[in-house]
Amino acid sequence: MENLHAELADLRGELERERNERMKAKRLAERKEEENGRLTNELRLLNDRLEAMVSERTAELEKARDEAVEANRTKSQFLANMSHELRTPLNAIIGYSEMLREEAEEADVLGIAEDLGKIHQAGKHLLTLINDILDLSKIEAGKMDLYLETCDLPSLIQDVVTTVTPLIEQKGNRLTVEVQPGELRTDVTKLRQILFNLLSNAGKFTSEGSISLTAAFGEERGKPGVLLRVKDTGIGMTEEQMDHLFQAFRQADSSTTKKYGGTGLGLAISQKLCHMLEGRIEAASVFGQGSTFSVYLPLLREEEKEAVLPSAPFGAKAAADTVLVIDDDPTALHLMQRLLGKEGCSVALARSGQEGIRLARELQPKLISLDVLMPGMDGWSVLAELKNDPQTASIPVIMISMTDEKSLGYALGASEFLTKPVYKERLIAALDKYVPKRQLDPILIIEDDTTTSQMMTYMLEREGYRVHRAEDGLKALDLLEKLEPKLILLDLMMPNMDGFEFVEKLRERRAGTSGSLPIIVLTAKDITEEDRRRLNGFAEKIVQKGSFRRELLLEEIRFLLNGAGQDASRPAAKDD
């Protein structure tokens, strides 16, 4: 029994301890939970603060970056202006020293001549440095423009080689050149500059060695281009030196500048120019054995503005009565385009001789008008090339020149010779001779329904009219900036700008101009008195769609085009 009591007491005690323990644990858990909550809170607070700090810092960094970008632009702008200012007095130093040296030589004061020669040389050296800095800062300020033209690769290379040969031979080097013939379209000045930099570098770091230049057309990642390679047997570069090869103001090491001269800008500029031309430049080198620089430039596509084919806005029979105008002067091109466009010709424009020859082959125009005085390939060379090519030999050419050189022109195969300024009458007389059957009466159809406008086009084209189409009033007004139709067929219900509004706008635009532009309204709408009032005086005729008779409409068009539309006594806007 006692045992039982004792056991019971033990158990009770144990139970009590356990309870106590549980209570302790519970309290501990509560405390922990409390602590957790506090920590969580603290963490949340910290997190919030962190986010605020991060966004604050980000804003600061963004501001700093913007400021840095702006500062860099300002710096480049400053350098560009500065370089420009520096060159003006330098101009005088170089010019006067050269002139005085010549005078001193003539007067046999040789000691002075030599010293003046040194000033002149130093001046020219300073000029190249300034030009380099100017180039680099212009590129960085985004002020370097591309001027694309088509050039002959071998002649371009020959040009650079001639300039650079004295530099290369100075150190007893031999230059070999290998060029694949062909033309490419690029910025000639910039390509020349890249090649000059690479070749003069090769010459600078090689002595009594050989330098080779190869240029070949090829393809890279499906893009056709030209690969230029300059290889020398000079001092070469270590890997470390190669690492900052294309960085501005960094030469292999600072002693290089003292020993070899230069700004250390040549390669940086070359790389940037390559990038501008959408190409790349790479270097490979073995220290002590020589370096190879490879430039790859893709052939750049023709730009729209270089060869425009207006006046055939719907791509239809473009070549039928095409006249090709070759002139380097944009104003002259514009003028001819307007003149010829009014005479019912499609006009193709070329801004250079090469472009002109290419377009002549491609378009087979009825007539070519060719300016004599052009930079690059002049009119005489273009004429000779056109007449030598069986594809283009039979196309009549009108030569246009500042001076009267008829006999030379005819001897070379020109059909006509006109002097600038070109008088309209004389040009038209020539046109009549060579493109006699051109269509003089363009008609503009303004209609949003394709089926109707196609049907009308077909009908009119069969009758020999030149047809232009616009799908609403707005597009028609745009088109009227460029072409001058003799008659308009107008739908009334159209999106964007309907026929009523178009008539109003046209009336505003033509206020005060002479000559008539008859309008025939073609509509499916029931015309109300109000409609009639709005159109009154500006529509020659209102025709109901679906009920008109083709023959009557054509007769009306012929009648209006024959000038009867100008007859004021004729009643306007009468019904069918």
Binding site: H84, G95, M99, E102, N131, T403
Partner: protein, 126 residues
């Protein structure tokens, strides 16, 4: 000997170029801005014009356009002098009707070559 009209606003450049041209035996007349340049071209009838492009009063491009629009002065060859590497200036000069261009500071022998070339050209075909 041929007469050259030099249109240049910078006094040093004008003095230097004119002296060098004279030493080569050219007769040199000068103008200090575009407007005076156009006037001088009319009254002096030079055989060739060297035209700076950034000129006061009337710039070189406008002056060239004016000269090329006039019957009397149209055939006089104009060599534009433009700053280095300004492809747009060069293009603008040719667009304005200049017959040729060269850079400033001038590369003397190259400029002389161009002058001779244009004088021969206009001489033989005039």
């Amino acid at each position: 000997m041929a007469k050259i009209l030099l249109v240049e606003d910078n006094e040093l450049n004008r003095d230097m170029l004119s002296r060098r041209l004279q030493r080569k035996g050219f007769e040199v007349v000068m103008a200090i801005d575009g407007e005076k340049g156009v006037e001088a071209a009319r009254t002096e009838s030079p055989d060739l014009i060297l035209m700076d492009m950034s000129l006061p009063v009337l710039d070189g491009w406008s002056a060239t356009r004016a000269l090329k629009a006039e019957e009397r002065t149209r055939s006089i060859p104009i060599i534009a002098l433009t700053a280095h590497a300004m492809a747009s200036d060069r293009e603008k000069a040719l667009d304005a009707g200049c017959d040729d261009f060269d850079t400033k500071p001038v590369e003397w022998l190259r400029l002389l070559g161009k002058i001779e070339q244009h004088l021969n050209l206009s001489g033989s075909r005039a």
